[in-house]
């Protein structure tokens, strides 16, 4: 079937090639999988279906790993011991990890479908959400549509001017100049003199000062464009292409009820194949098998072991680097060579959905130069009364390090303070919040593997290559770092290679 799809050019852009074919598993062959995140559960699901005997060891008491939603009633304890109890109302959640699935991440999407997890749209771009600079426009946010329309209008006017002043004669033929001018007029909503001024056409892009209506109060009033200098100075133009990158282009999806629904469904599907609360202490391979020593986190000190012919290890690298494992120096060097990103997400519950009620923002994202970086509005439950939860901050880099170093309560407090500068309703409407700092996550010790070009050139192949009976998988073993699709495609690639080796070696040891 895939060949047929390729023939139609439908599957060309996705690295995912449909359900993996693992025929001919040696009778009785076994695989031990470390980690019940997306990579580990993809491996477990497929290897089990192919006839392997499968066991999964998972540190957490739940399935999913970074595929995770925090909901009312959940408790999360971070490294250092700070515990947060999520006090969101029923049905409200935040996704501390991944929150959006691009349409071309066909691996993740297909597992969601196979597991019966319903998906709904995720709005990356909302023209009525804000672009905000703390130093421009008196600190007042501007609507995305205003900045986009005005930037486009001014650039079109300048380019038209250059064309008409013959500045492009060497580059563009006279005939093409006519076409270019026509396109600029259209693209930038320029008037008949090729200038960008307040107009009905422009207001159809940037919004009106007074919207058209019905009856005697019907007459629209066009809005006044923001000047080019103001737009350039504000740097808000940097926020215009947020939906233009391949990973952010419409359509994007989210599972109904939270991203964690995929991990939960995977966990239900695998059932008792997953042993939870299992902390891996040592990984040892010999010529015949792999033995993993672990302890039950509920009773520390218990020395338990699991043994299998093969091992798929999806443990995040900062943790794996600290676990004794007898692999060769190329793999162990690679494991130690990848820094993990610092990132923070903060979910805030408010007494009402003021962003919808007062500002008509339905889903999507506001971008700001404040340390909170993003405000993500819920892409679900529109127009519902009662409380609402938004993503109050999604922070990377230095600010993420700084927020990680704070207590959870301080993080939430700071996020509410910063957010108040965009939404003045915050102080009155704020109800409660929860903050996840990924470097404090006990099960990852960082957000995801940040490969430099240099490190990737030196170590990536060594990280992915099978070492004896052990193969690594996860987003860190992919070129789609930080995305679930990286975990899934890495896992399928790894188990495909492992299967070939298992078949070549014949029956179980």
């Amino acid at each position: 079937m895939y060949q047929a799809m390729d023939g139609l050019g439908l599957a060309a852009e996705s690295p995912y090639r449909g359900p993996i074919d693992l025929q001919g598993a040696p009778k009785g062959a076994s695989v031990l999988i470390l980690g019940a995140g997306m990579a580990g559960m993809t491996a477990a699901f497929e290897l089990r279906n192919a006839g392997y005997r499968v066991q999964v060891l998972e540190y957490n008491a739940r399935a999913g790993g970074r595929n995770w939603s925090l909901r009312g009633g959940d408790t999360y304890t971070e490294l250092g011991g700070a515990s947060q109890h999520c006090e969101f109302d029923k049905g409200l959640y935040i996704n501390p990890g991944p929150w959006r699935i691009p349409y071309h991440h066909q691996g993740v999407l297909s597992y969601a479908k196979r597991l019966g997890v319903p998906l709904e749209p995720f709005f990356q771009v909302n023209y009525n959400a804000y672009l905000h600079s703390s130093t421009a426009f008196g600190g007042k946010p501007r609507r995305y549509r205003e900045i986009k329309a005005d930037y486009q209008g001014h650039v079109a006017e300048l380019l038209a001017k250059a064309t008409r002043q013959n500045a492009l004669d060497a580059e563009v033929s006279k005939e093409d100049q006519e076409k270019l001018l026509q396109s600029l007029k259209d693209w930038g909503t320029l008037d008949k003199n090729y200038t960008y001024v307040a107009s009905d056409a422009g207001s159809e892009r940037r919004g009106y000062q007074k919207d058209p209506g019905g009856g005697l109060s019907a007459r629209p009033i066009p809005s006044q464009p923001i000047g080019l200098t103001d737009i350039l100075d504000s740097k808000l133009w940097m926020g215009i292409p947020t939906g233009d990158t391949y990973d952010m282009q419409t359509a994007l999806f989210q599972p109904v009820g939270g991203m964690g629904r995929i991990g939960e469904a995977f966990g239900r599907e695998l059932g008792t194949l997953i042993r939870y609360n299992s902390k891996v202490k040592q990984i040892h391979q010999d010529e015949r098998s792999v033995t993993v020593s672990y302890e039950d986190t509920a009773s520390p000190g218990t020395a338990l072991t699991a043994r299998a012919d093969w091992c798929v290890c999806t443990i995040p690298l900062p943790i794996l680097a600290e676990i004794p494992m007898n692999v060769g120096s190329p793999m162990s060097t690679a494991i130690a060579a990848v820094p993990y990103a610092s990132a923070i997400k903060v979910g805030l519950q408010f007494k009402r959905r003021f962003w919808e009620e007062d500002e008509h923002i339905y889903g999507g994202i506001t971008y700001t130069d404040l340390p909170i970086t993003n405000i993500g509005y819920p892409n679900t439950g529109f127009f519902s009364s009662g409380k609402g939860v938004l993503l109050g901050a999604y922070i990377w880099g230095l600010h993420a390090m700084e927020f990680t170093a704070m207590s959870p309560a301080e993080r939430v407090q700071k996020v509410v303070e910063f957010g108040s500068r965009i939404h003045p309703q915050y102080p009155v409407e704020f109800d409660n919040g929860i903050a996840v700092a990924w470097h404090r996550s006990p099960f990852t010790m960082g957000c995801y593997g940040m490969w430099s070009t240099d490190a990737r050139a030196k170590h990536y192949d060594d990280l992915c290559a099978i070492d004896g009976r052990i193969v690594l998988a996860g987003e860190h073993a992919s070129f789609i770092g930080g995305w679930q699709e990286g975990a899934v495609t890495s896992s399928l690639d790894a188990i495909g290679r492992l299967h070939q080796r298992a078949v070549a070696q014949g029956a179980a040891a």
Binding site: Y59, L79, G80, G81, Q124, S133, S134, T135, K235, M238, G239, P241, T242, T245, D247, M248, V280, P316, L317, P318, I319, L320, A321, E322, A336, P339, A341, S342, Y367, T368, D369, L370, P371, T373, N374, Y394, I395, W396, G397, L398, H399, M401, E402, T404, A405, F418, A437, H439, R440, P442, F443, M445, Y448, M450, S452, D454, F479, G481, G482, W483
Partner: protein
């Protein structure tokens, strides 16, 4: 202030970071203090303690962050400085040139700052090492990244 030079390595945060990149000063902390102006105790409080914890007590989960209080490895300031410069086992490198931190979303500390925070850690949390790292000595250690071509 810069967009990542190599988008392929920066897939996730590219969009997340657009507005942050437009920040008036993205090397500033929320207090407004700039990264380049802070010394040992503030560097520890704003950056290091995110993982190594207040008081340098470390933390244990599926893995662990080393406890710095009473850590015998601290006997060598060179070891500590090299770890801060180059990172290790998932820890980000802090010795990358300022114009190369974006690729791995690390942060740049100067040699003087690294000497300062190393000295701070080795003389705090119950540690009492008397010998001090000097900026010129840190500068002489191997640094990550490559110098920009002339």
């Amino acid at each position: 202030m810069k967009l990542p030079a190599r988008p392929a390595a920066c897939i996730v945060f590219w969009v997340a970071g657009i507005a942050a990149s437009a920040s008036a000063d993205d090397s500033a902390f929320t207090s407004g203090t700039t990264l380049s102006s802070i010394s040992g105790p503030e560097i520890y409080a704003h950056i290091c303690q995110g993982c190594h914890m207040p008081g340098g007590v470390g933390a244990v989960g599926a893995g662990y962050y080393p406890k710095l209080a009473g850590d015998p490895a601290l006997v060598s300031w060179q070891y500590v400085a090299l770890t801060v410069l180059n990172g290790k086992d998932g820890m980000p490198p802090f010795g990358l040139p300022a114009d190369q931190v974006m690729e791995t979303r690390a942060a740049h500390l100067s040699d003087a700052q690294i000497a300062d925070v190393v000295n701070y850690v080795r003389s705090s949390f119950g540690n009492h090492y008397k010998d001090k790292a000097k900026p010129a000595q840190v500068a002489a250690l191997p640094h990550p990244g490559h110098p920009e071509p002339p």
